[in-house]
């Protein structure tokens, strides 16, 4: 090669270095470490994720945790505890009593699925499970309301306790609806936001009604 005859690498320019690829540490989804870790760590990690989402529901603001890293453990725990607390109502053997455990379960999950389908059919861009996750987590204020109602009913079942329960359930219903609307409404087309918010309002209204009309034996 004639042109390269006088090209030489001078000795005083060191050509050296390191070729390293920085190892990106992803979120802990690598198979190696999580397989060997103690069970307590696994459970605590999931519980912390669920707890973080609870905090995001309590103070609703833009949260990618609730939307991006969705999980359905939190909604399941809330649904089961709400359904359990709604048991033991009056007239549970006749047809006129409150909702059974299975009925509460079906209403919450079937209602959430129908609302998600509705928002997707209207042109929403949120994914199916993200929407289920948000709707399920926003049941949390109502579960707290149910707890408070049961405690108030332990003290008595008169008019004053009814007024307290009404105020608590009303406040929690407003909180639930506003929280879930804050998360879900941005992904909807702008002319249809009211069409998406109304079923959410109806959903939490039905759950609030079930909580408010709970009467112990």
């Amino acid at each position: 090669f004639p042109g390269l005859a006088d090209v030489s690498i001078s000795q005083d320019i060191p050509v050296e270095g390191e070729i390293t690829v920085p190892v990106e540490s992803h979120s802990p989804d690598e198979d190696y470490p999580t397989l060997d870790e103690p069970v307590k760590d696994t459970i605590m990690r999931d519980l912390k994720a669920v707890g973080k989402k609870f905090v995001h529901v309590m103070y609703p603001r833009k949260s990618s945790a609730l939307l991006r890293d969705w999980d359905l453990w939190g909604p399941l725990m809330l649904c089961v505890s709400l359904a359990l607390m709604l048991q033991g109502g009056s007239a549970d053997s006749r047809d006129d009593g409150g909702p059974q455990f299975a009925e509460v379960f079906v209403i919450i999950w079937f209602g959430a699925v129908v609302i998600t389908l509705n928002s997707k059919l209207l042109g929403g861009t949120i994914s199916f499970f993200q929407s289920l996750c948000v709707l399920g987590y926003c049941v949390m204020p109502l579960t707290v309301a149910m707890l408070v109602c049961r405690l108030v009913l332990l003290a008595g079942a008169g008019t004053i306790s009814f007024i307290i329960r009404l105020i608590v359930v009303g406040a929690m219903f407003t909180w639930s609806t506003l929280a879930s609307t804050a998360f879900l409404v941005d992904s909807q087309p702008p002319n249809r936001k009211a069409l998406v918010v109304y079923p959410i309002f109806l959903f939490y209204f039905v759950i609030s009604w079930m909580i408010l009309t709970f009467t112990p034996q």
């Binding site: 109502g89 009056s90 007239a91 006749r94 047809d95 006129d96 009593g97 409150g98 909702p99 009925e103 509705n118 997707k120 059919l121 209207l122 042109g123 087309p189 702008p190 002319n191 249809r192 936001k193 009211a194 069409l195 109304y198 079923p199 109806l202 209204f205 039905v206 009604w209 079930m210 009309t213 709970f214 009467t215």
Partner: protein, 311 residues
């Protein structure tokens, strides 16, 4: 569907670039295909472009007719097919509800409001709201009626929700199915000018049920006269919407069949209202006779139990 739209959109971009590059070569062929994809793009994808929505809102009669045939072209197993049934904006749903509550004499609800864009949002959520409104109002009204009595213990009566749901959804979906089948059968015998698709009939029935929602709330008032006045009023309003919709569809037919059809529609509608009132709302008793009635019953009750025990 998305790939077809992407192609059209890219053509628009390429045409613009080509136009900028060769102004004299391709001007003529570009103008036509630009406009139609623009309307289709805004119609089929709900991106919320304000100017396109306004264009379709004010000048929508011929454009919706043009695009109606192109709307439901997705195969029925895709999600996009069902999205075409929810292609309504908030103001359209509110207009349709307003049209069902204030019927304009002589104007057809379907032609005026639905205009080849039937939606399933209205019927489904109006029925859901009606189910829960009737159940909750019935429960509240029973609570207020029986409030003073010492033997009364409040029960939430949750079973009635499932009964209400079955009744109302069956009415709102099976009756339109039967009516549609009947109209199709008559259309094969007598050439009618006006014919409706199944979804349009479901739409009319769904929106006509809206008036019952405030009626059910007002039925909490425990006065028989008030309840019956409300019932007749709401029956007149929603019945007139149904009559004005379906009379043009049957009036070319045999006179007796036309009248019988419209009468059946009204009868079923009235039956629904009366049945809901009777089942979910207890009869309001007069306050005067309430403390008096239990007294004479008790000795008779004891008498009957003695008699039965001896058998």
């Amino acid at each position: 569907m998305a790939t077809a739209d992407d192609l059209k959109f890219q053509e628009f971009d390429d045409a613009a670039n080509l136009l900028a590059a060769n102004p004299d070569a391709t001007t003529i062929s570009i103008d036509e295909p630009v406009e139609i994809p623009k309307n289709q793009h805004s119609r089929l994808q709900e991106t919320g472009r304000e100017e396109d929505d306004e264009l379709l809102g004010t000048d929508d009669s011929d454009k919706t007719e043009l695009l109606a045939g192109q709307k439901k072209s997705a195969p029925f197993w895709t999600f996009e097919y069902y999205q075409t049934f929810f292609d309504v904006d908030t103001y359209q749903v509110l207009d349709r509800i307003k049209g069902s509550v204030f019927p304009v004499p002589g104007k057809n609800f379907v032609r005026l409001y639905i205009r080849s864009n039937p939606d399933l949002y209205g019927p489904f959520w109006i029925c859901a709201t009606l189910v829960f409104t009737i159940a909750v109002s019935g429960n509240l009204s029973n609570f207020f009626i029986h409030l003073g009595k010492p033997t009364y213990h409040y029960v939430p009566e949750f079973r009635k929700v499932s009964i209400a749901a079955t009744t109302i959804y069956a009415y709102a979906w099976l009756v339109p199915l039967a009516l549609w089948g009947f109209l199709m059968w008559r259309n094969s015998k007598v050439m009618n000018i006006v014919s409706y698709s199944f979804l349009e009939i479901v739409c009319v029935y769904g929106y006509s049920l809206f008036i019952y929602i405030p009626t059910a709330i007002l039925w909490i008032i425990p006065q028989k006269v008030v309840r019956w006045v409300l019932m007749v009023f709401s029956l007149c309003l929603s019945g007139s919407v149904l009559v004005m919709t379906f009379w043009p569809a049957v009036r070319d037919d045999n006179r007796r069949i036309a009248v019988a059809t419209v009468a059946t529609i009204l009868l079923l509608h009235a039956l629904l209202a009366v049945g809901c009132l009777a089942y979910f709302f207890d009869a309001p008793e007069l306050d005067i006779s309430a403390p008096v009635i239990p007294a004479p019953i008790i000795p008779a009750h004891n008498g009957t139990t003695v008699i039965t025990k001896s058998h």
